[in-house]
C-alpha cells in the first residue's frame, strides 16, 4: 500500500514542491535565525539567490558542531512557546544535540513514519510492539505515532526485560516488531532459550528495523531466526532531521525511498564538499524543507550512500538512497586501510560455525595497528579438537583478508560471552591513542 499521493508524483511535480518549500525555508531562517544569517552572509549568499533547485549548492553546510555551538536552541526558527516536544541525541561526547517540534512538525513526522510503515508492509491491522528505548531518543516515539496514526495497536514495551517482551509478543499476538536489528536477533535468541520458536510460536511477520545498519547478512540472519516469510525492512532518519521517517525501504528491497516533499537529498564528496552527480557514492546531505522548529539546511549526515532517481517497481517515484554501508565516522583506518565494520560483519555472518554477535577491537602496539575480533562458537561439535578450532580461525582470517586486505586476530569465545545490546549495538572498541 502506498500511503500518500506525494510518493507517486512526477519528477517535475516533486521539484516544483521542493523549490517552493526550499525558498520559503531559506527566507524564514535568514529572517529568524541569526546564526544562519551570519553563515549565509559569510558565504555571500542571500535568500533571493535561490532561484532554482541547483542554487541549494550555494548554501553553507550545517554540521553537528554547529548544533553543539548553538546548544540548546540556537538554530531554532520558532520561539520556545511554539514548541510542543523536545528531544535530544544520546551525545556520547560533549553536549547532546537538541531538537524541537511544533504541533505541525509532529503531524508531519507522524505522516512520514506512516508512509514508511506502509512501505514495509504494515496495515491498520497490526499489533505493533515498539522495542526501541523510549525517552529522549526519537526512534521509539516516532514509530509509535506513525504506526498509531495508521491504525495499528501499539505495544510500547520499550527495551529491556526480554522475557516479558516475549510474553507480550505471544499473548497479544504481536504482528510487527520495531527494534534495532541486533535487538531483534537478541529477542529471537532469548525466545529459543525459553523454548519458544519465533517462526511458529509467534505471529511477528513484519520487522521495521532502524537506528543501526541492516546489512544483507544481517537480514539473512533475521530470516533464519524469525522465518523466511518475515518482511524485514530498514528505515532511516536521525533526530537532527526529524527522527525516523526520512526514508524507508519498500518491499522491493532496492534502497530506501526518501520523503522528498519534506527532504532534499544531496550526495557530496566528504573531502571537498562538492556535490556529486546522481548515482555516485558519497556523504548524504539533507535539507529539511517543511519543518517549523528546526529546519536544518544542508545537514551533513556523515552517512555514506548513493541516490537512485529511477521510479521503483513498487509504484513510488521518490528518490531512493541505497542501504548504508557505514558512516564516515564509523570508518576505521587500520594500517592505512579503510575498514567499515559492516564489511567485517558481512564476513562473520557468512560463517556458520560462529554466532551473529561479535566485537571488533583495534589497538596499537608500537606503531602498528592491531585488529582483533571476538566471536562466539555456535556449535559444540568442534569443542574437542584443537584442529577444528584452528580451522575455523583460519577460515575467518582468510575471508577477512580477501575482503579487507588485512590480517586480523580471531578470538573464539564461549556462547553468550559477548555483550548483547538492546539499543544501538556498540561493536567496535577503538583503543588506539591519537597520533
Amino acid at each position: 500500500m502506498i500511503w500518500a499521493k506525494e510518493e507517486t508524483l512526477s519528477r517535475k511535480e516533486i521539484e516544483e514542491i521542493q523549490l517552493f518549500r526550499l525558498q520559503e525555508t531559506v527566507n524564514r531562517v535568514y529572517e529568524k535565525v541569526p546564526y544562519y544569517r551570519r553563515k549565509m552572509e559569510e558565504s555571500g549568499v542571500k535568500p533571493e539567490d535561490i532561484r532554482q533547485l541547483e542554487d541549494l549548492q550555494r548554501l553553507p553546510f550545517v554540521t553537528k558542531q554547529d548544533m553543539r555551538d548553538t546548544y540548546p536552541f540556537g538554530l531554532f526558527a520558532v520561539p520556545k512557546e511554539k514548541l510542543v516536544r523536545i528531544h535530544a541525541s544520546s551525545g556520547t561526547t560533549g553536549k547532546p544535540t537538541v531538537v524541537g517540534y511544533t504541533k505541525k512538525d509532529l503531524e508531519v513526522w507522524t505522516e512520514c513514519v506512516s508512509r514508511i510503515a506502509a512501505m514495509g508492509g504494515a496495515t491498520s491491522k497490526e499489533v505493533a510492539q515498539i522495542c526501541f528505548g523510549y525517552g529522549m531518543f526519537t526512534g521509539a516515539l516516532g514509530l509509535h505515532y506513525g504506526l498509531e496514526n495508521m491504525g495499528a495497536a501499539i505495544v510500547p514495551s520499550s527495551t529491556g526485560n526480554t522475557e516479558k517482551q516475549l510474553m507480550f509478543m505471544k499473548d497479544f499476538g504481536t504482528t510487527l516488531l520495531v527494534a534495532t536489528p541486533s535487538y531483534a536477533l537478541r529477542i529471537a535468541e532469548v525466545a529459543q532459550q525459553l523454548g519458544i520458536d519465533p517462526k511458529t510460536d509467534l505471529q511477528v511477520k513484519i520487522a521495521l528495523v532502524g537506528s543501526e545498519l541492516l546489512t544483507d547478512a544481517m537480514r539473512k540472519e533475521m530470516h533464519k531466526m524469525w522465518g523466511n516469510d518475515m518482511l524485514v525492512t530498514s528505515n532511516y532518519g536521525m533526530s537532527e532531521l526529524m527522527g525516523p521517517g526520512v526514508s524507508g525501504e519498500c518491499l522491493e528491497l532496492n534502497g530506501m525511498h526518501i520523503n522528498e516533499d519534506y527532504f532534499i537529498p544531496e550526495i557530496i564528496d566528504p573531502k571537498t564538499g562538492e556535490v556529486l552527480p546522481p548515482g555516485e557514492k558519497g556523504e548524504l546531505v539533507i535539507t529539511c524543507i517543511y519543518k517549523e522548529a528546526l529546519p536544518l539546511i544542508r545537514y551533513r549526515t556523515k552517512d555514506v550512500t548513493r541516490l537512485m532517481y529511477e521510479p521503483c517497481k513498487c509504484g513510488r517515484t521518490t528518490c531512493r538512497m541505497e542501504n548504508l554501508d557505514g558512516r564516515t565516522d564509523d570508518m576505521l583506518k587500520i594500517r592505512g586501510v579503510n575498514v567499515f565494520p559492516s564489511q567485517i560483519e558481512e564476513v562473520l555472518l557468512g560463517i556458520e560455525e560462529i554466532g551473529p554477535h561479535y566485537e571488533i577491537i583495534v589497538t596499537r602496539e608500537g606503531h602498528t595497528d592491531k585488529l582483533e575480533i571476538r566471536v562466539e562458537l555456535l556449535t559444540e561439535s568442534m569443542t574437542d579438537s584443537y584442529q577444528a578450532l584452528e580451522a575455523i580461525e583460519k577460515k575467518i582470517k582468510a575471508r577477512l583478508r580477501v575482503v579487507l586486505g588485512l590480517d586480523a586476530k580471531i578470538k573464539l569465545e564461549s556462547p553468550n560471552t559477548i555483550q548483547r545490546f538492546e539499543g544501538k549495538a556498540k561493536r567496535v572498541k577503538d583503543l588506539r591513542k591519537e597520533g
Partner: protein, 136 residues
C-alpha cells in the same frame, strides 16, 4: 567399552576453569581425570566424570560449549613394552593418536585414555593385544 569424555571450550581468562569446576560441584559430579593443554588464547578441557551426560547438560546450561566424545581407556598392567606395541600397530594401520592422558584409578594401575582417528579399530587392536579395557 568406550567412555564418554566431556570436552569443554574455555577461554584463557581468569576464573573460567573455576566456573567449570563450580558448575560440576553444584551438580555433585565427581571428576576422575582432567587434561588441559596450554595455548595462548583458549583451551579444551577434557574430563572423565562420574556422569558425563549430566555434566554436559549442566555445562551447556551455564553457557559453555561442551560436547561428549567417545574415548578408549586401557589399563596397562605392568608388562614392559605393551603400550609401545599397541602404538606401533596403530601407526602401521595409519590410525592417528589425537591425544592421550592418564586417569588416577586409586590402584597401582594407571589407565590411559586414548583418542584416535579410528576408535573402533583401536578397540579391536587393544583387545587382540590382550590389554585390559578400563570402564571406570
Amino acid at each position: 567399552m568406550f567412555m564418554d569424555q566431556v570436552s569443554v571450550f574455555i577461554e584463557n581468562r581468569k576464573g573460567r576453569l573455576d566456573d567449570v569446576l563450580e558448575t560440576l560441584k553444584r551438580e555433585d559430579i565427581n571428576i576422575q581425570s582432567l587434561s588441559l593443554a596450554d595455548t595462548s588464547e583458549y583451551g579444551v578441557l577434557r574430563l572423565i566424570v562420574s556422569d558425563p551426560q549430566k555434566a554436559q547438560d549442566a555445562l551447556k546450561a551455564s553457557g559453555f560449549s561442551a560436547m561428549l566424545t567417545k574415548v578408549l581407556a586401557i589399563t596397562l598392567t605392568h608388562r614392559a613394552g605393551m603400550l609401545q606395541k599397541i602404538i606401533g600397530i596403530l601407526g602401521k594401520e595409519n590410525i592417528n593418536i589425537e591425544y592421550m592422558y592418564s586417569i588416577s584409578s586409586g590402584t597401582e594401575d594407571m589407565p590411559l585414555v586414548l583418542k584416535t582417528s579410528d576408535i573402533e579399530r583401536t578397540l579391536e587392536i587393544v583387545r587382540e593385544q590382550g590389554a585390559e579395557i578400563y570402564t571406570g
